[in-house]
Structure formats: structure tokens, C-alpha cells
């Protein structure tokens, strides 16, 4: 075999191999989300529930929250002292969020809350951080009121077409009243670039509640490998709010990474007695079977459905298909809500929309379809 023929053979092999295991890589990188080390400290957001970075002025730590409440482990070094005051900014936070130190190895630092500049932004000045100490900080609602019913909005698939006027959806959610936060199954952008995400984050300032999302196939794998994790955080994560577990799972490549399955197994086991809502971009099975807008393997689809069913998950939510579907995966009620404005499925009588989930401590009491006029 001569060299040109060998190259001819290698091209498709390279093409095929380059398509492999993006999802594994994302899962590995998820583990690095929420970790920050600088000259005077090391920070770790527990379970990676927020993206964390240090601003260029070295006096400010900025967080992008992916959960209504989370904890941060902080270790200060012995050589260099913390800036005084240290400014901590949390974006995408609940308006009622508060910062507190729940564990310290030294005297409790002082917290001074600064008036917020945006509905989902919280800022605090922290002073009196001691060198060579360990702290655990908590950001979230002080009283969780796990028995209280609440509402959550869900929608996905904004993409290029929907980005122009996504503020309409945000305004509608703001006006609906009593929505605690928005959850999404991804495809926020068209190609997942930093520019697109920055545009979206700018528009997100008009939404008065936090927006928690996993990634979609349009958000990852198109070039800027780390953009999603840099701006939003983990692709797969889990949090608990008022006795409801929310498990966001990265299925953007029509599969779930084996590592993520191992996380999911733990999340399912930990929340057997809770209401459990599962969120992923691509549904394991397409309700219109011949279309196959679903996992690439039916066996894997059944593997996932089996896990969810045996753990008695209460609800499964997906995007990817730009319409609205109510169906079931095994015995689990499932919904697709891809009404963010991305190139819509035609002839379905449904345009831009979002869902409102009415949840109490026992169950998802009801799901309402809200159309955007």
C-alpha cells in the first residue's frame, strides 16, 4: 500500500475518531468546574454547582450559580493574606439568597451585603478572613420551607432564531408571577461560541429569576470546547430544592457518558424519597419514532429509562425537538418543550412557549403550557 492510499484510508478513520468521546471529555471537564486557586486561597464549590473565577483586580471572586443553594469550601494560605474587603459576587442567584459561613476553623468573618444591581445578582463584602484557615460558605435561601409548593418554568432551544426576541419569553415569565426559577434543557446558542453566550447572558439580565440549564448539541462540540463550562459551569449536575431533586444530565451527543451514569446512579439513590425531576437535552426515545431525534442507541435509551423508572423519577423533561410533546417513557411522564424560538417544527399548531411546573413536597401537581403571544 503506497502513501497516498494509506492517507486515503486514514482520512475516514481520523474523521470517525475525531467524532468520538466528546461527551466523555465534557464529563471529565465538569469535575474541574467550581475550583479556583490563587495566591492566597483555594476555593471549591461543592458538587460544582457554580462556576467560579477571580476578577482581574484580584479583590473580587465571581460566581455563576447553577443551583438555588450551594456550599463553597475555602482554604486560606499562610503566606499571603486575603484582600480586605474581599468582594464576592453571585450571578444567577435567587433574589432571597444570603451568604453565611456555616463552618470556620477560626473567628467568623464579617459579611456586608451590597445592594444588588440586577434581579439575580447578589454582592457581599467579606472582611476578617484569617490566614491558614478553613471555611465553609453557603449561598442560598436561609429558610428552605421544604413543605411549600412552588412553581418552576421550563423551556429550551432558543438558538439563533430565538435569540432575537428571547426577552419576550423572559418578560412573560416575569409577569406570570411566583416562578421561583427557570430550568432548561439547552440549545441556548447556535454554535456555542463565547460571543453567543455573552449576548444571551446580557439578555438574561431581564429575567428576574435564575436560569439553570444543561447543554444541548448546539451549545457544545462546535469549536469552543470550554465555552459552556467557562460561562455556565457543569453540563451535568444535581441539586435539591424544597424536597425536589433536579438532575440535569448531558445528553447533547445522543448518549450519556459512562461517568455521568455513575453520578446519576448516586443522585437517583439519594433521592428515592423525594420528588425527582430529570432534565436532559435529547430524549432517549423520540415520541415520533421514525424521526429518531433521540439517543443513537435504543439499548442505551432503555438502559436510561430503566434507571429512571426503577428510581421512581416523577418527571422527565427534554428539548432538542422544537415543539411541545407530552408522552411517557415507561411509566414516567415525559415532556419535550423546545419552544425557545429556534427553527420551529411546523404544522404542530404550537409556537414559542414554556411550561410551568407546579411542585409540592410530594409530587409535580400540574404542568401548564404557556404560549408566547
Amino acid at each position: 500500500m503506497n502513501l497516498p492510499k494509506l492517507l486515503l484510508l486514514l482520512i475516514p478513520i481520523f474523521f470517525l475518531s475525531s467524532c468520538l468521546n466528546d461527551y466523555d471529555k465534557r464529563a471529565r471537564l465538569d469535575l474541574k468546574v467550581g475550583i479556583l486557586e490563587n495566591e492566597w486561597s483555594s476555593w471549591q464549590v461543592v458538587a460544582g454547582l457554580a462556576q467560579i473565577k477571580e476578577d482581574s483586580d484580584k479583590n473580587t471572586i465571581t460566581l455563576w450559580a447553577q443551583a438555588p443553594a450551594f456550599e463553597i469550601e475555602l482554604k486560606t494560605g499562610s503566606i499571603q493574606t486575603a484582600p480586605t474587603p474581599l468582594q464576592l459576587i453571585c450571578h444567577n442567584c435567587l433574589a432571597t439568597s444570603q451568604l453565611k459561613f456555616i463552618s470556620t476553623s477560626d473567628s467568623t468573618p464579617l459579611i456586608d451585603q451590597i445592594p444588588r444591581t440586577a434581579p439575580t445578582e447578589k454582592q457581599w463584602n467579606i472582611t476578617n478572613l484569617q490566614p491558614d484557615s478553613q471555611y465553609v460558605l453557603q449561598i442560598g435561601e436561609t429558610q428552605t420551607g421544604s413543605e411549600l409548593a412552588y412553581k418552576v418554568a421550563f423551556f429550551s432551544d432558543i438558538q439563533k432564531e430565538g435569540m432575537q426576541n428571547v426577552e419576550d419569553i423572559f418578560e412573560n415569565i416575569n409577569n406570570y408571577g411566583d416562578i421561583k426559577f427557570v430550568i432548561s434543557a439547552g440549545d441556548i446558542t447556535h454554535r456555542g461560541t463565547s460571543e453567543e453566550i455573552e449576548v444571551f447572558k446580557e439578555k438574561l439580565k431581564t429575567l428576574e429569576v435564575p436560569f439553570y440549564t444543561t447543554s444541548g448539541n448546539h451549545d457544545v462540540g462546535w469549536g469552543e470546547e470550554l465555552a459552556w463550562q467557562k460561562y455556565f459551569g457543569r453540563n451535568s449536575f444535581n441539586f435539591i430544592y424544597r424536597n425536589t431533586a433536579f438532575s440535569f444530565v448531558d445528553s447533547a451527543d445522543a448518549t450519556v457518558a459512562p461517568k455521568v451514569y455513575s453520578w446519576l446512579d448516586k443522585w437517583l439513590e439519594q433521592s428515592l424519597d423525594r420528588v425527582h425531576i430529570f432534565i436532559a437535552h435529547i430524549s432517549p426515545l423520540d415520541p415520533v419514532s421514525s424521526r429518531q431525534g433521540s439517543f443513537s442507541s435504543r439499548l442505551e435509551a432503555h438502559k436510561l429509562i430503566g434507571k429512571l423508572e426503577r428510581a421512581k423519577v416523577d418527571l422527565a423533561l427534554f428539548g432538542h425537538i422544537h415543539s411541545y410533546y407530552s408522552y411517557s417513557l415507561g411509566t414516567i411522564p415525559a415532556y419535550i418543550s423546545g419552544g425557545g424560538g429556534g427553527n420551529e417544527e411546523k404544522l404542530d399548531g404550537i409556537s414559542r412557549h414554556y411550561l410551568v411546573l407546579n411542585i409540592n413536597s410530594q409530587q409535580v401537581k400540574g404542568i401548564e403550557l404557556v404560549r408566547i403571544p
Binding site: 500500500m1 492510499k5 486515503l8 484510508l9 482520512i11 475516514p12 474523521f15 470517525l16 467524532c19 444541548g216 448539541n217 448546539h218 462540540g221 447533547a252 451527543d253 445522543a254 448518549t255 459512562p258 451514569y261 435529547i282 426515545l285 415520541p287 415520533v288 419514532s289 421514525s290 424521526r291 429518531q292 431525534g293 433521540s294 439517543f295 443513537s296 442507541s297 435504543r298 439499548l299 442505551e300 432503555h302 438502559k303 429509562i305 430503566g306 434507571k307 423508572e309 426503577r310 432538542h320 425537538i321 422544537h322 415543539s323 408522552y327 411517557s328 417513557l329 415507561g330 411509566t331 414516567i332 427553527n343 420551529e344 417544527e345 411546523k346 404544522l347 404542530d348
Partner: protein
């Protein structure tokens, strides 16, 4: 992609080093009768008669007027205008057939794909439009495969259907699955075939002894058109209505899957289309399957939410190699739209979801009247590699 892989494969392993100076290979060609008068009497493209039309033995040589341009012409402009290679080769009759085959494929593809694209895969159109788009797309590919294979003179090295199918065959071998989602990996795979008049039956089973995964599938086919499975024929084409029933158990994931299928399947010997294409054939399947899954031990099949249907569609382009019952082979490069196999479907960057099935290459080689070997390599989300021995009885 399949076309590209097929083309690469052809280029690497089947194209002779020089297609203009291999007189010996031509003399050994199984198709001396395929030399068309058009090819012999004129130099392609020039309109002039060839200077060397006969070899020393007095037989007409089809080497003499082979052109280096027919193969490339089947690619450019052949990828757009199918039949270009055969047109340059002077086989205008075959070129015309390929052109119309391609046009029919484009028509089918357009009827399926345009409504899909305009409606962004509407739920009301998908069940009809997707099979049409697939059928059209693979008809286009088939015409382009044929043009390339004939225009690169690969058919000179091909064989033909050996005349008859076995009435009984047993296959047994190893099947390896590379899929990190499941613990099963090493399967023993076996199958038994019976052919009787218009009926063909096949029982296949897969077993991974370590993981406990087991699958059994039985298929019954009824020949509607063409050659019966037990009949003698020089060209082997058929259309069957088949049904299949399978049961699948994956203990590690606590899954039990029951699948019922009803589909048409067929093979078309391209020698029927034109002698220039002798030695090649295409295969297809089209139908629907109903799948029911028990996710829990207490659950029953066909209860709420655990039963879904899916489309069955496959296409294959095949070659016969050798032409006697004692020494022949067939090789098929194929695409299967199903995703319920062990390798799953390919993960495509383009759509991001699992819209595609898997693609592969399967071969069967018989080195004696009764014995042979087989292999199957396919790529989806995972990889499947199988090989083993075949024992058969031919009446």
C-alpha cells in the same frame, strides 16, 4: 460517508494497479461476454476506431479501448450526473439507465427531504417522508456506486451468483461488541437457515456468557417476486415479505425486550440492469417494528408507555467474487437505519442526535461446496466485529 468509505475500500483493495495494461487479468475475467460493441469499436470520446481490437489469440480484448478517464468521469461529473463514467466508456445504454435511476432517486429524495426540511421534521410527515428520503438517497448512491464500479473496470474482477442457495446452513462464531455503555462484550453468535420453496427461515442467537446478555431472533420470509430461495438461477433477485420475532435480555440493566417486525426485503442482481454491472447486487429492507420493554421485573409487556414502534430500513451494495460453488464469496457494504442492535446508531455532528443507523461491511467466503467463513464489521455508536464458520448443504 458510506459512499466515501466504499470508494476508499474499492480504491485500496479492488482497483488493479493499472487498468490499461493488465491483459492477463482480462483474459481471466469471468465476463468476456460483457464487452460491448460500443466499447470495442470506438475510442471513448474520440469517435475513432481502436487500433488494437484483437489480441494474439484472436479474442476481442476489452483492454484495448479502456480509458483512464472513465473512472474519474464517474466521480466528476458523475457525482452530479450519474452514468457519466459509462457514457465516457461508450456504454450509452447503461449510462442512460444510471441517469434515470439517479433521477428517480433524486425525485424520491426530494419528495421526502424537502417537506422534512421545510417543516423541520414535522410529526405529521416524518413517518412517510423519512423512508422516502432514505430510499431516494440510497437509490442515488446505488447509481453512483454502479457507475464507479463499472467505470473503474472493477467488474472485470467480480464473479457471479453461484447458481443456487443452500437448503440448510449453520453459522457459528464470535461477535465482539465495543460499547462502554454495557458490560457485555464477547458473544457467541450462531444461526440456522432453512430454505424450502418460497419460504426461508432463520434462527439467530447471541449469548455473552459472562454478562448473561442473550438475544434470540427468528425470521420467516415468503418470496413474493423473483427467485425462490431454493431455486437455481443465474441472476439472483427476489422480493420477500418477512416477519421476525426477537427476545432480548440484558441482566445488568434489568431489561427484557420483545420485538416484532414486519418488513419487505429484497436483493436485486445488477446484471439484470446491464451486463456492465454483472457481479454486483443491492439489498434492501423496509418495514416497521414494534418493541416492548420490561424495565422492572414486575412489569408486563405492552403496558402503558413501554411499547414503541420504529422504522426498519437498510441498504447494501454487494459484490460477488468467484463464480463456482466451491470457491466464491460475496461482500456487502451496508447501511442499516436500525438502532436496536448492539453497536447502536452513529452519533452525527451534523444533527447532534441519533438520527442515523449503523454502517458496515460483511463478507462470506466459501472455499468448498459445504464450508465457508463469514465476517461482519459495523460501526455505530459502538463497534461490532463478528466472524465464524459456515456449514451448508446444497441440493
Amino acid at each position: 460517508m458510506i459512499y466515501y468509505l466504499g470508494f476508499v475500500f474499492l480504491q485500496l483493495f479492488l482497483t488493479p494497479n493499472s487498468i490499461v495494461n493488465t491483459e492477463n487479468s482480462t483474459q481471466n475475467s469471468p465476463h468476456p461476454k460483457q464487452i460491448s460493441t460500443d466499447r470495442v469499436n470506438s475510442k471513448p470520446g474520440s469517435g475513432e476506431p481502436s487500433k488494437s481490437l484483437e489480441n494474439k489469440s484472436g479474442k476481442i480484448s476489452k483492454i484495448a479501448n479502456k480509458s483512464n478517464w472513465t473512472g474519474p468521469a464517474s466521480i466528476v461529473p458523475g457525482l452530479l450526473i450519474s452514468g457519466s463514467g459509462q457514457y465516457v466508456a461508450g456504454n450509452k445504454k447503461a449510462a442512460k439507465k444510471l441517469f434515470f435511476l439517479n433521477a428517480a432517486g433524486m425525485g424520491l429524495f426530494a419528495v421526502g427531504a424537502i417537506p422534512l426540511a421545510l417543516s423541520n421534521s414535522s410529526r405529521h410527515l416524518s413517518s412517510i417522508a423519512i423512508p422516502l428520503a432514505l430510499a431516494g438517497g440510497f437509490t442515488i448512491l446505488n447509481s453512483q456506486f454502479l457507475d464507479s464500479v463499472a467505470s473503474f473496470y472493477l467488474t472485470d474482477f467480480l464473479g457471479k451468483f453461484p447458481g443456487k442457495n443452500p437448503w440448510f446452513a449453520v453459522e457459528s462464531g464470535y461477535f465482539h461488541v465495543d460499547d462502554p455503555q454495557f458490560s457485555h462484550e464477547h458473544f457467541q453468535k450462531s444461526s440456522v437457515d432453512f430454505n424450502y420453496r418460497v419460504l426461508s427461515t432463520k434462527l439467530t442467537w447471541w449469548k455473552d456468557y459472562a454478562a448473561g446478555t442473550f438475544k434470540a431472533r427468528t425470521k420467516l420470509g415468503f418470496t413474493i417476486l423473483g427467485t425462490n430461495p431454493s431455486e437455481s438461477a443465474s441472476l439472483y433477485s427476489y422480493l420477500r415479505l418477512s416477519s421476525a420475532f426477537s427476545w432480548h435480555k440484558i441482566p445488568d440493566e434489568e431489561l427484557k425486550i420483545l420485538t416484532m417486525e414486519l418488513f419487505f426485503e429484497g436483493r436485486y442482481d445488477h446484471g439484470s440492469l446491464d451486463k456492465a454491472f454483472s457481479g454486483t447486487f443491492s439489498e434492501f429492507q423496509f418495514g416497521y417494528a414494534l418493541e416492548s420493554v420490561k424495565y422492572n421485573s414486575g412489569e408486563t409487556y405492552f403496558s402503558q408507555g413501554n411499547t414503541k414502534d420504529f422504522l426498519i430500513f437498510s441498504y447494501g451494495f454487494g459484490w460477488y467474487l468467484g463464480d463456482s460453488r466451491n470457491n466464491h464469496a460475496e461482500m456487502i457494504i451496508y447501511y442499516n437505519h436500525r438502532q436496536d442492535n448492539y453497536a447502536g446508531g452513529m452519533e452525527l455532528k451534523v444533527s447532534g442526535d441519533g438520527v442515523a443507523g449503523y454502517a458496515g461491511l460483511k463478507t462470506r467466503y466459501f472455499f468448498s461446496r459445504d464450508w465457508g467463513v463469514y465476517s461482519d464489521l459495523h460501526y455505530g455508536g459502538g463497534l461490532g466485529i463478528g466472524f465464524g464458520v459456515i456449514y451448508r448443504r446444497i441440493k
